[in-house]
Every structure is written in C-alpha cells, then in structure tokens.
Amino acid sequence: MNIVVCVKHVPDAQSDRTFNESDSTTDREGVDGLLSELDEYAVEAALKLVEEGEGEVTVLTIGPAQAADAVKKALQMGADKGVHVSDEAIHGSDAVATSLVLAEAIRKIGSPDLVLTGMASTDGTMGVVPAMLAERLGVPQVTYASELTVSDGTATIRRDGDTASETIVATLPALVSVTDQINEPRYPSFKGIMAAKKKPVETWSLADLGVDASQVGLDAAWTKVESFTKRPPRQQGQIVTDEGDGGTRLAEFLSAQKFI
C-alpha cells in the first residue's frame, strides 16, 4: 500500500506569532518553525500501516525553504521519501490554492492508495485543506479518525462525535485525517536520524507540477484580509488568595457580574 502524508511546517506555537506588515500574510520567516505536531500523528499512522503490511510512505510538504525541516523530521521518524514543493509564487496562498498544489503533487507522486493528513494545522487551524483536497482528488474523505484500519481495499475509521461514536467505511483510494487521539508519535531514533540522510527528497516547483503561478499566492486568493489588529492583552483582573473565604468571594464576583 502506498501512502502520501501531507505535512506542514509551522511557526512554533510557543513563540510570538504575527503577520507581515506589508501584505498581511502569516510571518513564517521571523519565527522558529517545526513539523506541525498534529501532522506527526498522521506520519505515525502511515508508518504503522506500512509496517503491518507493505508499501511506501511519501511525505509531502508545501512551503518555503525551511519547510524542508518538516520533511526531514518525518523521514527521521521512518518515512521512505520526501517531496518538497517550493516556489516563490506560493507565498501567501490560501487553503484553496494549497489544496490545488497538494492535489497536483499527489498526482505526480502517483495515485496513492491512501492520503493521510493531520486534523488541522497548528498555525492556521482552519482544518479545511483535507476536505478541499478530497474534493479535488475526487476520493472519499473520512476525517478526524481516532482509529484507522485498512484491509481489502477499504479504510475503516472510528470517529468520536458529540452525540455518537461512529464507524465509517470508505473505499480506497481515500483521504483520511487523523486526530491526536489515534496514536503516540515515535521519536526519531539515532538509527532513524542517520538513515534519513540517505533518503531521497525531491524539490518541485510549480512548473514541475504544471500549475500556473497565477493560480496561487496572495493575488489568487479568493478572500482578502482587510485589516488585522492585535488584541490588547487581557488586563489581569483581581486575584485573591483563599483564606477560608475564597469560594464566597468567587460567588460574590459572579453575583456582581450578574452570572447568578
């Protein structure tokens, strides 16, 4: 079984994230980046499936030069090869354009049995790329999997919904997004780190994919950011230390604020 895992390189959530003043896009240069933690679960899920059977795991990322680090981390975890789509024109792309480029790259990799993604990126957290990608590839989509098994040409997942726990079955090829409940991602071993150095990574431009530069980037976006304002940091309110009356004082606060 051949699996493509889409992974994203994101600004570290622990650092101060911001926008570029000039064009209102997410600042990806001024901050440290890493493989989106939520995509590690997708890499782990792919490795498990291939270890159980056979096949190959290809990791795919779109992003600036630094995004190669995300591919490297996934290769160290055990993926077989990497594809990095990088092109000046991609800067500022929205989910619509990202899904277009991912779809074309997946076609070029060669129709996989399974495309795996994280549930959302830790920077954008729109969580819409998987659905858009499935729409573009014309394959069934099963998202937010907290369990995943594959056999006889079907993927079966369990999803933990608000009102019910559902079992969903999709015929392959399919796209599956996984949650952070599905597994415990492995740390790269020393052997894995050494082996990753010899694994093939291809870097593709838009031209390699036959995607026209006018279809991506900020100018091609179908939405436009008009303004962004930093929220004033929340003013710290009143902090009291419990001296036997903490609960009463809490109730008094709630009452003064008309919550009771």
Binding site: D123, S227, G237, G246, A251, S255
Partner: protein
Amino acid sequence: MAEVLVLVDHSNGTVRKTTSELLTLARRLGEPSAVFVGEAGEYAAAAEALGRYGAQKVYRVESPDVTGHLVAPQAEVLAQLVEKASPAAVLVPSSTAGKEIAARLAIKTGSGLVTDAVDVQAGEGGGVSTTQSVFAGSYTVTATVTHGTPIVTVKPNSVTPEEAPGAAADEVVDVTISEAAKGARITESKPKEASGRPELTEAAIVVSGGRGTAGDFSPVEAFADSLGAAVGASRAAVDAGWYPHTSQVGQTGKQVSPQLYVACGISGAIQHRAGMQTSKTIVAVNKDEEAPIFELVDFGVVGDLFTVLPQATEAVNAAKG
C-alpha cells in the same frame, strides 16, 4: 433582495441555537433561505423555529443518499442550490462537519471561504465583510470574499438570536447525489449518553476541570450545575480518562466562547488557551499562584479547588434561594 442560504443544524428536527444565530446574521445580508437536510418526517419539528427567526424560504432535502454519508453529499446539495438561487452568501455553522461542507462547496463553486467568523456584516461596496479571531485570540482580522459566492462558517455564540417572523415557505428539492460523494458510509453509530447539561460550544457558562481535579470531577460538576453550566476538561484530564474526549477544550478539542469560563485546576497551556481565550469573562481556581492561566483572568482564586468550589457552589445555590 438576494437570498442568503443558511445550512440548518439540527438533531432529529430539533433546530440548534446556532441556526437561529445564522438566520439572524443572514438578515443583515439579504433574505434568509434555510436549507434543511434530514430524514423524512424530521422537518415538522423544525418548521416553526425556522420561521420564527426569519427564514422566508426553506429548501427541504430528505434523502437517505444525503444523511448516511458524511459531508460530501451535503456539499453537493448546497452547490446545486447556489446554482439555482445565486445567493448573496452561504452561511454554515462552524462545526467540524460544517467547515468541511463549506470547504468542498468553495472548491465546487469557485468561491472564497472564510471559516470561524465571529461576526458577519454587509460589505461597504456590497459583498460580505467578516471578522475572525486568530492565533489563539491574539489578533482580530477582518476579511472580504473576492471571488464567487461568499461562503462563511460562523462560530456559535457570535450573535444574540433575534426573532423576526418569516414565511418559511417550504420547497422540497430533488437532488442528485453522485456516486463519488457516497464513497464514505456511516456503518455504525453508537449514541452517547446525554449528560443533561448544556452543549459545550453553545453554553453561556462553561466550568472546566484539569489535572488539578486528580480525577474527581464532582466539585467541578456540582459548581457547573449550580450555574446551569456545561462541563469542559483539559487534555490532561481527558488523556487520563477522567472525562470524555468530546468535553476537551482547546486546540484539538472544542473552541468555546461563552459569557463566562471557569478553569479549575488547569494551568493554562497555550493549546488550552486556544480553545477558550475569546470567552467574555474568565475565572480560574488554581493552587499555584504562578499558573499562566492567571494572566488571562478577570477574577482568580489562588486556592485548593476541593475547598473553594464547594464553598462557591453553596453560596451560589443560597443566592438563587
């Protein structure tokens, strides 16, 4: 006036509050038309509520092809209606399914998509202007859709629903669902036990417990019940198996924005904040005065939740009389 399509969120025909919120917002942009997708017979329960919040028209789709197959068929339904009605906008609830339906619809119709809007207004030169809260609530962004039909998913609690009678004239629509859209089937659905408390994302008040509960959520639940609140949990509490995953608040759980959020025994990690930082009023009870959650609070008690919460619960119950 142009129609504005609103995808109805309901359970067995009982319309959720998010739908009345969307209908209220839709009236700012045009004439609300509700899109009701359900099993045969469910519509009867929904009709009155849709009319009460201003739906002029209701498109009814009752087909097992749609209900048994996750999101893809619903996106096809909306795409066919967009084609037919050329609406000024399509509003969809910002649930996980809602966002995916909207995402597929955007690709199908070549339209710009804004997710997780907290406000929607008619744009100055026509169109639609949206407001979002991004990067764990640290920035407010306004945006417009520049291509196709504006598709916007709106977070719960973004607006107070206002009644305005609408005709709610229903029109049964026959849709054709492609085989491709039926590729994912729900084969089993085990209903969860209802807690009897308000739904987490819709609740006006949320009381959450974390690792500090040490597995005993009873003081958190008792306090929540005194306030008529929903109960949430941190990931640490969920991972320990103390509370169901569907109650998790945060980046990989629910994003809540209630009037009041009470964090009990929760340190306030960035991933937790991402799910609650836009709450109007924030209160915390934590033993550790250095806990980062205190940076956010309007009111904080440094103390043991096992003594503070029962005392507060008693005072609240007494105040209610």
